[in-house]
Amino acid sequence: MLGGRPAGSPAALDGIAFVAQDAPLYKNLSAADMLHLTRNLNRRFDQGYAEARLGELGIPLRRKAGQLSGGQQAQLALTLALARRPRLLVLDEPMAMLDPLARHDFMATVMTAVADDGVSVVLSSHVLAELERVADYLILMSRGMVQVAGEVDDLLACHRVLTGPAAEVGRYAEELCVVHARNGGAQAYLLVRTNGTTGPVPPGGRRTRSAWKYSPWPTCASPPPRRCPVRRAPRILNRRR
């Protein structure tokens, strides 16, 4: 469903553009042919936008898609999707195969489209650091289960990573709502949910993010609450494979 339009209807197909992992393109077709192909397969296609973008990116129109670099292929696939002027852009790990520079360029194109056209984006990625910069809403999945879901700002505000001596983990686990614990030899890493409570840093612990205070947390719900309150429409999806 998209805005009340049933899946598969012409309106829904028009409104959603999808770029799959590895940006599949017909390798034997030139970039110009891919534009022509996409124009023929869709009601709306902004040929001018697409050609201008490929020009900016320095992607030669005559070059076969298979001969473009990985970053250029991803950009071409993204350009094809954006030229359809969708309302919703779905990106499935589009940057998995890209080098850091190409990732940056790719996200820049996405963010420009968001700013210029107001397109909504659902992006799946396992690079959390990149999501923090661009995402409004985050769903974190692990082993097919939703681990956390919520506004990125809220998630950052109500979760903290504690680093401390491994020997003292047991003490924290009793006092704090530990979402995830990882033992790195002498050091232990704890992801804890603060639920907005403030207080001093527990003895022996070290704060790792912005300033926060810790106060004794007497009742950690068991099992701990998995979600922060959902207030806005989902924007960013993170999927772990």
Binding site: L25, N40, A233
Partner: protein, 349 residues
């Protein structure tokens, strides 16, 4: 990012029509022109060969056709010489042409969808505004029509090619298995069916080489089963006890009876031992060194109380059989194509 809420506009959406079909014409042509060229080349090479050898054969046949009085000993000799020269070459050619539908099914039909799976491009193609089911139809239908028309045109050439062989009195009539499915509507129908099998194999198997082999195997099984079990029963076969079976009929089975009981081959051979003839099958006899001249084993057996029971389809049933076979193959092909489209629609990822 900013939150964007676009209100649905049902009035405008309801009037939205799907992307027109003709837009897919360019797509199908651009992506499959090589496959079409391959099919054209296949028919082209075969056609050139048939034309060259066929023209030679027709040229030689002119002497047979011009022989007067027809049916005289001299004319039979001329026709016999013609058949001895050309008939042995025709059989293998017709045998080779049998695989044309399978080649088209395996090389044009099977890769159609499989290549999208192998390259992952189905994720691109099926998420465009055209819609995946319509995309599949727009690819399968024009190519199916193209290969069917090509095969139909080619079968006209095959009919022309084999004409002199029958004119000169070759035994195998138009219902003979290796020629029946190359003429009339049968070649076109078999090509269409093989193409449809290839399309379905593509979505079921999703890897090019296995899908091609599966197409070949399915076609071979279907073609064999049709020739062996189905086609002889399109209409109830005729039986005759007349040893002079009409010319050009399709003999389905022949057996000997004596006194109302079926006669085994050894019984026949016992009788024929007196004239040193060996029956290889109930219809084929091998004369020995002591065989008297001008003895006809069939007549000899009839004289000795045997009756030859022949089950056959007369050659006048050629066109009814063609329409029956063409009809069910067309129905099967449409069913297979519909199943392919349905599977594409149903596939979730």
């Amino acid at each position: 990012m900013t939150t964007l809420t676009v209100p649905a506009r049902p009035d405008r959406d309801a009037s939205l029509r799907p992307v027109p079909w003709r837009r897919m014409a360019w797509v199908t042509w651009r992506q499959h022109r090589l496959a079409l060229a391959g099919v054209a080349a296949l028919f082209g090479v075969a056609a050139v060969y048939l034309l060259i050898t066929g023209l030679q054969m027709h040229h030689a046949y002119a002497a047979v056709a011009a022989c007067r009085p027809a049916g005289s000993g001299t004319c039979r000799q001329v026709a016999g010489d013609f058949l001895n020269t050309y008939a042995p070459g025709v059989g293998p050619v017709l045998g080779l042409l049998q695989v044309i539908p399978a080649l088209i099914g395996a090389f044009a039909g099977a890769p159609l969808l499989v290549r999208e799976f192998e390259a992952g491009t189905f994720r691109y193609a099926w998420t465009q505004g055209f819609g995946r089911a319509r995309w599949t139809i727009a690819k399968l239908a024009p190519l199916a029509v193209a290969v069917t028309v090509g095969a139909g045109a080619f079968s006209v050439l095959v009919s022309w090619y084999v004409q002199p062989i029958w004119g000169a009195g070759d035994d195998n009539g138009p219902l003979y298995p290796t020629i029946f499915d190359l003429r009339g509507v049968a070649l076109a129908a078999w090509t269409l069916a093989a193409f449809a099998i290839g399309g379905l194999a593509g979505i079921l198997i999703r890897r090019v080489i296995p899908a091609m082999f599966a197409t070949f195997a399915a076609w071979a099984g279907l073609a064999f089963a049709t020739g062996a079990f189905l086609r002889p029963h399109y209409e109830a076969p005729l039986t005759t006890t007349n040893p002079n079976v009409p010319h050009h009929v399709w003999v389905i089975s022949q057996l000997w009876t004596r006194g109302g009981q079926p006669a085994s081959l050894s019984m026949i051979n016992q009788t024929l031992h007196a004239v040193d003839i060996q029956a290889v099958t109930p219809g084929r006899f091998q004369p020995g060194p002591a065989t008297p001249a001008n003895i006809d084993p069939v007549h000899y057996l009839v004289q000795h109380g045997y009756t030859q029971l022949t089950t056959y389809q007369p050659d006048s049933r050629f066109w009814p059989f063609q329409w029956i076979e063409g009809g069910w193959l067309l129905a099967l092909s449409l069913l297979l194509i519909a199943a392919t489209v349905w599977l594409v629609r149903r596939r979730a990822t």
